[in-house]
């Protein structure tokens, strides 16, 4: 089976948000990845939920590209009708890690955004409860999943 559904989804996104989309590609059957400018995240998210029916949130994560001085926040979404996974990505600068919270679009991102804040230090503006989820209450050690937080077994750690 070809990738017609995936290609149609990419066409619909590109035709509605030409200048906000930095990258959009079909990685393989049933996997789409789009990178969106941070100031248009909210509109793209609403479009994905209402018009393209991406209604199920799998998770929210981030990647620390320390050499390029940026974070990349990734939302993993699933369409329950088409059964396609879409990765909604956005790049933010490492020294100003702010991004709008999408909790008003999908309320299921609640715990996942909290965990990403705790592990990376990325502030989700608009989240009602950015408090500790997994680490102990009196944790003072920094942000564990950043690349400059070294474990005892890493080189230089």
């Amino acid at each position: 089976m070809g990738e017609e559904t995936e290609k149609k989804i990419i066409e619909a996104i590109k035709s509605n948000f030409q200048d906000a989309i930095e990258e959009a590609e079909v990685l393989r059957p049933k996997r789409i990845s789009i990178t969106v400018r941070n100031n248009k995240m909210f509109e793209v998210a609403r479009f994905l939920r209402d018009r393209l029916k991406f209604d199920y949130v799998l998770s929210v994560g981030a990647v620390d590209y320390i050499k390029e001085n940026r974070f990349q926040v990734i939302y993993y979404l699933l369409s329950s009708k088409e059964k396609v996974v879409l990765m909604l990505r956005t790049n933010i600068p490492r020294d100003k890690p702010f991004t709008p919270s999408l909790i008003s679009v999908w309320e299921a991102v609640n715990y996942h955004e909290r965990e990403t804040w705790e592990m990376f230090g990325i502030t989700f503006k608009g989240h009602p409860n950015l408090t500790r989820l997994l680490l102990p209450e009196d944790w003072e050690g920094g942000y564990p999943l950043r690349k400059d937080f070294k474990l005892s077994s890493s080189e230089g750690g």
């Binding site: 680490l135 102990p136 944790w139 050690g141 564990p144 937080f149 474990l151 005892s152 077994s153």
Partner: protein, 157 residues
């Protein structure tokens, strides 16, 4: 009191003491009650020890809901910083005589998570009497751990 009577009294008291200690030791070692408490992933193997094939209740080991009436604090599986403060609180609530066991490779020396940022060793928190290594330890190993503890209980009366 004549000297002969005094010596006789001392001998009777000594014999009585020895028999008394033996009975108390027998009673204590066959009723070691741990509290319902698990910390990590070795717990399914502990459930199998409680099950019909390996039946730990024939040794008198019966899990108990309340920590105040428990004799043994069994640390089963990985111990993290957040749980460690609760373990200290539980240990201080227990009444004397009390014992502690560390089951699994993780509470002994962090196991496969040796370089994790949030795992601690059990004997940094409470004084441990018996260590049972394995990942997870076989049910027979856990029962042997309990038998070593029983010998310690009997001799320590």
């Amino acid at each position: 009191m004549t000297k002969k009577n005094q010596t006789r009294r001392l001998i009777v008291w000594d014999v009585f003491n020895q028999v008394y200690k033996k009975i108390i030791g027998w009673g204590r070692k066959y009723s070691l009650w741990p509290a319902h408490f698990i910390t990590g992933c070795c717990c399914p193997e502990f459930m199998q020890v409680a099950g019909p094939r390996y039946d730990m209740e024939r040794f008198g080991i019966l899990p108990l809901p309340s920590i105040r009436q428990a004799d043994v604090l069994v640390i089963i599986g990985v111990l993290t910083r957040k749980m460690a403060s609760r373990v200290k609180m539980l240990w201080e609530q227990m009444a004397e005589p009390k014992y502690a066991m560390a089951i699994g490779a993780c509470p002994i020396d962090k196991g496969p998570f040796y370089d994790s940022y949030s795992v601690v060793r059990a004997d940094e928190i409470i004084p441990v009497d018996v260590y049972v290594p394995g990942c997870p330890p076989r049910p027979e190993a856990m029962i042997q751990g309990f038998m070593i503890l029983q010998k310690k209980v009997e001799e320590g009366v």
